[in-house]
Amino acid sequence: MKFGIVTFPGSNCDYDTFHAVVDTLGEEAVLLWHKDHDLQGSDVVILPGGFSYGDYLRPGAIARFSPIMQEVVQHADRGGPVIAICNGFQIACEAGLLPGALLRNASLKFVCAPIHLHVESTDSMFTSRYERGQSIVLPIAHGDGRYSADDETLDRLEGEGRVVFRYAPSALEAEEAYNPNGSMRDIAGILNGAGNVLGMMPHPERAVDALLGSTDGLPLFESILQRVAV
């Protein structure tokens, strides 16, 4: 399977993602330049983390107009899988691939830490290798991760099982504040209506090697391999 990883000016997780796909997963990956109009036959597109266009205006607001995004949107419209991580999530929301928006963290602080998540749904092509309700640890690193949408949108996301990851207390610190950014309904990751676009603030690509603290991101990539077997 071929993964296409988009490099925008200011992306900084593109090589981490490349490493996760190629060295850990053992699959093929290609870096796609934002000015190109060619996904080079990618089966899965990843919008990686970073600070595309310096977060000017709003995070993701300018990147969504990069030439490659036309192809990414067409790929998504055809049902092609898209994983939008961190800044990629912000870009996907700005591009209308996902509902809602990501605002400045409620604390106003950039938060860089491993956090606990609950896997809320294992029906998706991105989460089938997790256990429902499984508690996992993934790193976050963002200043604008407060997921926001109107109540109707939030109700629909929950009703349709499209909230796949939620910030959750760990067993040890049940009383501690666990929502790192003030996201509405503790939302950390969502799906589009068709289920082929995943947006999430935590970084699964940085959690594929026990040496670096966690392998809880690996099942996400393995889920796609299983479901999108080519």
Binding site: F65, C93, G100, R104
Partner: protein
């Protein structure tokens, strides 16, 4: 075709948590400005637009706001003024 200077204000939608505004309000209270009930921090954009007339410049700017300058999910915008420049 004339050139117009268009001023646009973009502010967080009322009702959404605005931590930046709250931090500024807290600082103003610390300075003794106890009468400040709320602060909302947004963006002020100034555009020089070439258009046939002021109404066209305003209409084009509104479209720019809808498509890029403001996020329709979380922000409100106001075209504050359109003046010949």
């Amino acid at each position: 075709m004339s050139r117009y200077r268009v001023a646009v204000q973009v502010v967080p939608r009322r009702g959404l948590l605005d931590p930046q505004g709250k931090a500024v309000a807290d600082a103003l209270h610390t300075l003794g400005f106890g009468g400040v009930a709320a602060v909302h921090v947004g963006r002020h954009l100034v555009l020089d637009v070439d258009a046939a007339d002021a109404d066209t410049a305003r209409r084009q700017t509104r479209e720019m706001c809808e498509r890029l300058l403001a996020n329709p999910v979380t922000e409100d915008y106001e075209i504050a003024e359109v003046t010949p420049s």
